[in-house]
Symmetry: C2
Subunit: 271 residues, 2 copies
């Protein structure tokens, strides 16, 4: 999917919501556990309920990998079920030496047809570029993550006074254009979005940490939005596990709609 | 497996060789492709041929993941086939927010019974500690990797003059003892082992980059060895793909034995 196709979806839906399918078998409603593939049964209903109001789905690979070969089947079926107009993210945080990253790229871009994958930057350029060999596919590089541990290394000051994460943004944006790279910037650092936009005026940012982790949508949107919106704000648990009863899909839909109402206002104010 | 159990194996075998099972379906001998599970058939013969002279096997998860659900089955079968006295490494380079890292830990330590997993440090403490909740299991944290891209961020100077990777070693060693943490330090930076040993005198180091990537065993061993050996030097392609004929296992054995001859000398010189 191209940048302009994504922006078209955002305008049509008046939404930049990404729904995180962190589908935890321990948390899905009990009545689904008798299904042949409970994870897929859950995801299918969540997708049916939310596809009209989100522009992206982020599949957290750990949740599928943690149940082995069967989990990979649920992952593949879920991905195939997502409408092709919706941007798909393999939240895998991979990254390894070149020949190995090339195989992860094959796993997520060829065997499966994800639009994008999240990649960790620590191993540098040759761990990232193999993912950039696929036309129309995206790397979403970790910049400043939403967790507490983002303070440990990402916020270290370098000899020139910059934070490490700033250097990661500056250096890595020379590896590909904003038509192939996005960045993860956590909603838990709303004040940082101004600085991020100085470094990356045009890139899309994937913003986790809204909802369960406590990020602030209005500040993030005000400081982070650009002329093509440039934001995909993710909510996972806050939507998909809003209810664990038989009404889970409807409740998820209502939660998603609530966020989109707020997003509509932010879009009108900022663009 | 404990540190002293690992050291006992090293003394018995006079070897600190780790064989990397980067089993690429494109590169395995043609006569195996008719097998029901060619990857496992290949690994089984490599393990039979090398188990007497190595102390660890490192399974590069990308090679299995890149063939989907079937790859996970080959991975599980391979792991189950490795003798229990040999240390096993899931070379997965995972690392995510706490609840997600906990699921990766479940995947590799509960569902599968790996002794250790490689973890990327960029997301900080709470992305690493979930892997440390398993008694007898190890985190092998990326310090300074063997690839060219290690220059991009790992070798950046911080405001106190230290390299980023040094800070990663210093900070992360407060998260657990040397009975639960090891570090990846690439053989392609032999001169750095002296500095690494100043920071981490007692930890085991997993050393990739020997062989195909050009690292120097003697310098690495001289500067990197401690009183418990403290090194696991990995070779993957140089051993397992030394021949792609019917003699592949025997040729792999000979290559492994050649390295172990050199290791014996290094052990005698350094310990």
């Amino acid at each position: 999917m191209t940048q302009s196709e994504l922006f078209t979806q955002i305008k049509q839906k008046q939404s930049y919501l990404c729904v995180g399918l962190d589908t935890d078998i321990q948390k899905i409603p009990a009545h689904l556990l008798g299904e042949a593939d409970p994870i897929f049964a859950f995801n299918k209903q969540i997708i049916d309920a939310t596809a009209d109001c989100c522009v992206a789905y982020k599949l957290n690979i750990a949740f599928y990998e943690s149940i082995g070969a069967k989990g990979w089947e649920s992952l593949e079926k879920t991905l195939a079920y997502i409408p092709p107009t919706i941007f798909t993210i393999a939240d895998a945080k991979r990254g390894d030496i070149g020949n190995t990253s090339a195989l992860y790229a094959k796993a997520f871009f060829e065997n499966m047809n994800f639009d994008s994958i999240t990649v960790a930057p620590y191993m540098g350029r040759d761990s990232v570029t193999p993912f950039l060999q696929y036309k129309g596919k995206w790397v979403i590089l970790l910049g400043l993550t939403s967790n507490e541990g983002s303070q440990d290394f990402q916020m270290l000051r370098l000899e020139d006074g910059k934070y490490l994460f700033e250097k990661v943004l500056e250096t890595s944006q020379t590896w590909a254009t904003d038509a192939q790279m996005m960045y993860v910037i956590g909603a838990t650092h709303p004040e940082i979005f101004k600085k991020v936009r100085e470094i990356l005026p045009h890139h899309f940012l994937l913003v986790p940490g809204y909802g369960a982790q406590g990020g602030d949508l209005q500040t993030v949107s005000r400081l982070g939005m650009n002329s093509q919106c440039g934001l995909l704000v993710n909510s996972s648990r806050g939507i998909i596990f809003a209810s664990n009863g038989r009404d889970f899909a409807l409740t998820a839909q209502k939660e998603a709609q609530k966020i989109v109402e707020e997003m509509k206002i932010c879009l009108q104010q900022s663009m």
